[in-house]
């Protein structure tokens, strides 16, 4: 007779493996974060000398200085606006596209999905300058300011996350049984209302996962932000580089600023986690 424990309880070997591996991974994930935190609490001279685990003296001046050395509040706001708008718009567009791909058969579907996938391979360098030129000419021709404006950046970022978003959402939508759609259609809904009434609620966790992905893509992008923004519209990702000036690299302020701007993002993650994991039932499996 096997030892009396629950049928599904893992054996000690598994539990120990789990403990060791997860601890190692936690250390790997957290040590740099700790270095960030401790460096943000040191005066500049201490940061550049021998590394010490505990800051002494401990100072919070970096947290005050970060707002003055660089217009951090403005960069933060810009990043927030651009990333949120890009994420929302990207998901909105992707939802419709994914609905079409997962619910309809139509000519050119194969081409569309392949083309969408292929954009993941485009090296950013290749089309950074041409895209910039196109924005400038649209601006010249129509008066809509795309270059140097948040709008242009939003359009760029939303398109960057679009392929993956469509891909993933198609998977999630396909896992929503078509019977649900058809029931709604029987009740007299048009396809759009079926989308909103049935499919979206059922695939909500997937939608949230994709929104997070789109947001993070926009939040961290550096190359296009550096070319396409001016001082008013600059985002955080490139703005942090301004702590490295002609004379000095303000390491402690860079760390403090990074922590400050990450707090809302991590908080958002925490809140979203529930939706992210709980209901991603058979999400990407198909």
């Amino acid at each position: 007779m096997p030892r009396k424990r629950g049928l599904m309880a893992p054996p000690p070997s598994f539990i120990w493996t789990r403990r060791i591996v997860l601890t190692a991974l936690s250390v790997f994930a957290l040590v740099p974060v700790y270095v960030m935190v401790s460096s943000s609490l040191k005066p500049l001279q201490d940061v550049t000398s021998t590394f010490r685990w505990i800051p002494s003296p401990l100072t919070v001046t970096p947290y005050r200085d970060i707002w003055y050395t660089v217009p951090l509040a403005r960069y933060f706001l810009n990043s927030l606006i651009v990333s949120s708008a890009a994420a929302a718009a990207s998901v909105a567009v992707a939802v419709f596209a994914a609905y079409a791909v997962s619910r309809y058969g139509f000519r050119g579907k194969r081409i569309f999905t392949t083309a969408v996938l292929s954009t993941q391979m485009f090296p950013g360098i290749l089309f950074a300058l041409p895209l910039f030129l196109i924005f400038v000419s649209i601006g010249n021709a129509t008066g809509i300011p795309l270059y140097g404006s948040r709008g242009g950046l939003i359009i760029t970022y939303l398109t960057f996350s679009l392929p993956f978003a469509i891909w993933m959402l198609t998977s999630y939508f396909e896992s929503v049984p078509k019977a649900l759609d058809e029931a709604a259609l029987v009740d007299g809904c048009g396809p759009v209302r079926a989308l909103f009434r049935v499919v979206i609620p059922a695939a909500l966790p997937g939608i949230i996962a994709v929104t997070i992905y789109a947001f993070m893509t926009a939040w961290g992008e550096v190359l296009f932000a550096s070319v396409m923004t001016n001082n008013t519209t600059r985002t955080l990702a490139v703005g942090l580089a301004d702590y490295s000036t002609q004379n000095n690299v303000y390491w402690n302020q860079i760390m403090a600023a990074s922590l400050v701007v990450s707090v809302p993002v991590v908080a958002g993650f925490l809140l979203m986690q529930r939706y992210l994991v709980a209901g991603l039932t058979s999400g990407a499996v198909k």
Binding site: L44, S49, I134, V136, V238, S244, T245, Q246, N248
Partner: protein, 436 residues
């Protein structure tokens, strides 16, 4: 399918529009007409401790300019990480500022793009004429034989900073004047964790600036008179080898310096971990790192032998130039602004704030530039500084050779010998990259 066709047409239209509208801006030629209620856009480079410092230094001067001429200047301070990219974007699209600061070593490259207004004699006369400026500074404003693409705004030169206490402790009474003396002094100071000299081994500009001057001291140059790269001449090879061997065979440089590219060498100097430093106007940074001005001295950079002079240089001409975009719609106003920024009073004020040296002769003698540090640098700039090559491929040269030196420092740091052959091999491959 109809919808796809419609969108294809829209896409084609966009493409045609882009093709037609982009490339070459809408140049309105010189002369901007009415300047009384004009607005200029000015991109300034970061010269101060932070971007905000630059705004607080420059905005009062811009207000002064408006008072005098009625022209409003909209200021944007651009960090160095972005400045060249933004200038590139402005050049390509024709949409950019009216006036911009550039690193003076970029002058010849940017000149070749045709983006800047050339300072022909008539334009030059609107800002005071060529004789208003230091000859060495003007030498770094564009290719020889062509009108300059920019005029000097702030200037700097390299000096040898040395730690007085460490020198006294090692029995060194005066700073070295030749390289041999520098190595000897360095060896006297090097023991334990203290080293003779601190260098930024992974910094492309620092490597280039130093090896170029070393080569010039040996009578060699990295380019011939026609502007072709000649990286493998004996003088060039010897210069690079000498520079890297401060770490490699002389052992007066900490091997860790091979990774430095973020001004860590200044921090080491400030903390007394290195006794000497070759830098441009390090005073402000050293103070921020906790070193009092009395703790260090400044001397001219050593030479091979003899006295520094124009033909025996001990520094490159460092500095910032100011240029006017050809696509600007306000050439006259822009030139007025340049004239203002290079006027004696402004030069004294702004260079005083930034700790740089005015390239305008009439401002040089002002007492603001008579501190010990500034006097040395001023003299170097006026008498023994040489401009980096004024060729269109200058930035390519910096990247290619700078990276070669960086790689050699990496070898030296890990104990590999740096011989003339290895140096020549690296320089040769750097030169081949220039043909691309």
């Amino acid at each position: 399918m109809r919808i796809i066709r419609v969108s294809a047409v829209a896409a084609a239209a966009t493409a045609v529009l882009a093709l037609a509208a982009c490339g070459g801006g809408t140049s309105t030629g010189s002369g901007g007409g009415n300047t009384t209620s004009t607005t200029l856009t000015y991109w300034a480079s970061n010269q101060g401790a932070s971007l905000q410092t630059d705004y607080s230094v420059l905005n009062p001067e811009l207000a002064k300019f408006k008072q005098q001429t009625g022209i409003t200047v909209k200021l944007q301070v651009v960090g160095w990480a972005d400045l060249l990219n933004r200038i590139l974007a402005a050049t390509t699209s024709g949409q950019g500022p009216d006036v911009v600061n550039i690193g003076n070593t970029w002058s010849a490259s940017l000149q070749a793009t045709g983006a800047f207004l050339p300072f022909s004699s008539s334009n030059f006369s609107q800002v005071g004429g060529e004789s208003k400026f230091l000859t060495s500074a003007v030498g770094s404003t564009g290719a020889a034989g062509q009108p300059p693409a920019a005029v000097p705004l702030y200037s700097l030169a390299y000096g040898l900073y040395y730690n007085k206490a460490l020198f006294t402790a090692a029995g060194i009474t005066s700073p070295p004047a030749t390289w041999d003396q520098l190595v000897a002094d360095g060896k006297k100071v090097t023991h334990g964790g203290t080293y003779g000299l601190a260098v930024e081994g992974a910094s492309i500009p620092e490597n280039i600036h130093n090896v170029f001057v070393l080569a010039k001291q040996k009578g060699a140059s990295f380019f011939d008179s026609a502007g072709n790269p000649t990286f493998t001449t004996p003088g060039d090879v010897a210069a690079v080898q000498q520079w890297v061997n401060f770490m490699g065979s002389d052992h007066i440089v900490n091997p860790g310096d091979a990774q430095y590219a973020q001004n860590q060498s200044l921090s080491d100097f400030a903390k007394g971990k290195a006794a000497m430093l070759l830098w441009q106007a390090a005073g402000t940074t050293l103070k921020a790192d906790g070193m009092a001005p009395g703790a260090y001295g400044v001397a001219p950079v050593p030479v091979e032998s003899g006295i520094p002079s124009a033909s025996n240089p001990d520094s490159m001409v460092a500095g910032i130039n100011v240029a006017v975009f050809k696509d600007s719609k306000n050439h006259a106003a822009a030139l007025k602004f340049v004239n203002f920024m290079t006027s004696q009073s402004e030069q004294i004020k702004i260079n005083g704030e930034y700790g740089s040296i005015p390239p305008v002769k009439s401002a040089l003698s002002n007492s603001a530039f008579s501190t010990a540090e500034e006097t040395v640098l001023r003299n170097v700039l006026s008498t023994s500084a040489v401009a980096l090559p004024q060729v269109p491929k200058e930035s390519q040269f910096e990247t290619a050779v700078g990276t070669a030196v960086k790689n050699l420092f990496a070898d030296a740091a890990s104990g590999k010998p740096v011989s003339a052959a290895t140096v020549k091999a690296q320089l040769s491959s750097a030169q081949q990259q220039m043909q691309g």
